[in-house]
Symmetry: C2
């Protein structure tokens, strides 16, 4: 009876208390306990009515998985070019680590050049479809850029608050998209409090991380794509640079849904949450085997996207690590800046510092045997290196026109 | 008898004197007159042996057009994720111009986030396939970043020389990819002379614009994609921000080949070359109906990618404009910086200044009637706006943490 449904979304479920909410009106947080909501689908009927082979003829964009996304109709999809991002096999670099099969899922190709576009594409599309006209959010930069862009595409107003030391490029993106942008002398939690106050005083909808349910669904598409790009098979290990952790939660949810659908068989991969040792609340909690994290004071790292001192979804991230026999690793800024150059010179891929952090973790986990050489590893590079040009020292001497190049000396 | 050939390349032909060169060894310029070489294919047999329907099942990347590319074998393709880039319909913005059907071919999604990746992907792959191990080139930034990245991917050495005032981000990209990078106090022609000297003194191969034939072939894929993405039909007008002009030459070549193959029917589109009024050699030559351009002294524009005072392929660009009943338009930096913001706020797309220049040209050509309201227009956005963050003024006041957002005043 559900044949031909575009989305198989049924309801939203509270991640803490389990309360069910209807999905056909906009709701951000659980109305019982104000916890994050999770989208649920009619997987039983989807399994009966659609086979994964039907995807073959569809566009190579994240919307190809529309049955597993919350947007109810194709005309509500706001598009800025959400291509299925490349899975790049790293052979030369993997050889250095003694690893047979290493893949980078490279999110550079997304609109606004980070994985944040996925959450924004699905989040804005669904919010607009349900009648939302004005969105507000705090950001460390990239999420604000993505949501501001999709808001403009959808004709919505956007209010963005970011720390003054967030990446400068993301300011330009928010302003280019016509968003109302404010800078704060503080961290993302300060920005979040200021947004919450504006939301309380006005008619904005707060779309901060996990304050609405559709960002997870957008990020889930990374997991759907990884599995399809591996020929509907599973990796052994997924390594994810973890700030808010929504991508990790989303990839895990994607694979759980695909397993339940029977679109893939096998073992759930082990998940690795990678943080900076300048901001490692998940790693600390994991080491103590705790269910939630503690605020990480005075956090600081060049990998700005993972500078999240107390992720709202910490309990979901930690649960994923425990249930998949995963782990959590903190790396130093020095190590990640160095790894960024090693990977770039080996493979030509300029990753973001968060992606470089994940590479350091892979190196460490291979070295200490947690990852075995025959295992198939997928690392998320969550954004383009060009959004963080300060990660490479570009201070070079300037030659006069006509000068001979000092090539011999440089060798 | 050619059935199953991966590439239908037959030979290289001099664009000036017509001399034929064999394609199975590396050759950069015509050995008769040192003019640019153009790749030629066995279109007659390709037409008989392959139908465009065979492409349907192939990967959504530029290599799907391998019969029309020079790389002889799939294992020689160096890949960093050359997705077919999005064609984005601009409805809200087109309404402002009184235009029914406006598409932006958005090159942001390419590796290194500009269209230069196409030339580099095909150019490096083919050079490496023919035994080249060391490449050298002058650049205004983005081409160097792209070629350095693909060189690293292929395991080649790269020597790059760029003006000291080229976009800072592209320095970081070259260095990240392990290239030998030099900065010069001068323009791209100064860099070119220094590269030529290094090539004469050493064992580098000069892969500067039009000094090797495969960059055109890579850029040709923009044209192949546009036609396929329009359902194997042709646009009426193609608007292209023109520096060296290789992209324009390539798109025209692509459509000519598709017409000859019978994969598309109809009229060749009219081509529009867009330049900055601070560097407009093609526009000046077009106004005088000349066959070649004159060096444009003291050139200067924020659209750094089109700051090319004397393009080597000027005669090919001008010939395309004349033969297609096209035109050439110069726009001011002020106009393009303003248009960049208008487009961003209307559609959420942050274009590069070169793309913004093309948008200004569309607005002018619609306004003066050269483009009719019912015509189907494709504009090339040659790169991501984030590579030029200085195009948006991001100087904002910084609020104290906890301050109320001054929303009322901002309205």
């Amino acid at each position: 009876m559900n044949a031909g449904r575009y989305s198989y979304l049924t309801h939203l479920e509270c991640a803490r208390c389990g309360r069910r909410h209807e999905a056909d009106r906009y709701v951000g947080l659980c109305e019982e306990c104000t916890s994050p909501l999770v989208a649920r689908y009619d997987l039983e009927n989807l399994r009966a009515e659609v086979s994964r082979e039907e995807l073959a003829g569809r566009r190579w964009e994240l919307w190809r998985y529309h049955e597993l996304l919350p947007v109810a109709a194709p005309e509500a999809e706001q598009k800025l070019g959400e291509v299925v991002t490349p899975m790049l096999r790293m052979r030369r670099y993997a050889d250095q680590l003694g690893l047979e099969e290493l893949w980078v899922k490279d999110e550079s190709a997304t609109p606004t050049s980070t994985f944040k576009a996925r959450g924004a594409a699905v989040g804005v599309s669904r919010a607009a479809e349900l009648g939302v006209r004005r969105i507000a959010m705090p950001t460390n930069g990239n999420a604000g850029a993505a949501w501001a862009s999709y808001a403009a595409r959808a004709g919505l107003s956007a209010l963005i608050v970011m720390p003054a030391d967030a990446p400068m490029i993301t300011r330009a993106e928010c302003l280019s998209a016509g968003a109302e942008l404010y800078l704060v002398d503080g961290v993302i939690s300060d920005a979040g409090a200021m947004v919450a106050q504006a939301v309380a005083d006005g008619d904005w909808v707060d779309v901060a991380t996990l304050k609405e349910p559709n960002r997870i669904e957008g990020k889930k598409t990374m997991g759907l794509e990884i599995v399809e790009q591996l020929g509907w098979t599973l990796p052994d290990v997924v390594v994810y640079p973890t700030g808010g952790g929504v991508g990790l939660i989303g990839i895990h949810k994607a694979i759980a849904e695909l397993l339940e659908l029977g679109w893939v068989q096998g073992e759930m991969p082990r998940f690795v949450a990678v943080q900076s040792d300048g901001c490692a609340p998940i790693v600390r909690a994991f080491e103590r085997q705790e269910a939630t994290s503690t605020f990480f004071a005075d956090s600081r790292t060049v990998a700005f996207g993972i500078n999240v001192p107390k992720p709202l979804g910490d309990f979901m991230v930690l649960d994923t690590l425990y249930s998949t026999k995963g782990t959590a690793v903190a790396v130093s800024d020095d190590a990640l800046l160095s790894e960024l150059r090693v990977l770039g010179a080996s493979e030509g891929l300029f990753v973001c510092p968060e992606g470089a952090a994940a590479m350091v973790a892979v190196r460490q986990l291979c070295s200490d045997g947690w990852i075995a050489s025959h295992e198939r590893v997928v690392v998320l590079n969550t954004g383009a290196g060009i959004k963080y040009p300060e990660c490479v020292n570009t201070d070079l001497p300037v030659l006069d026109a006509g000068a001979a190049l000092p090539i011999a000396e440089a060798r």
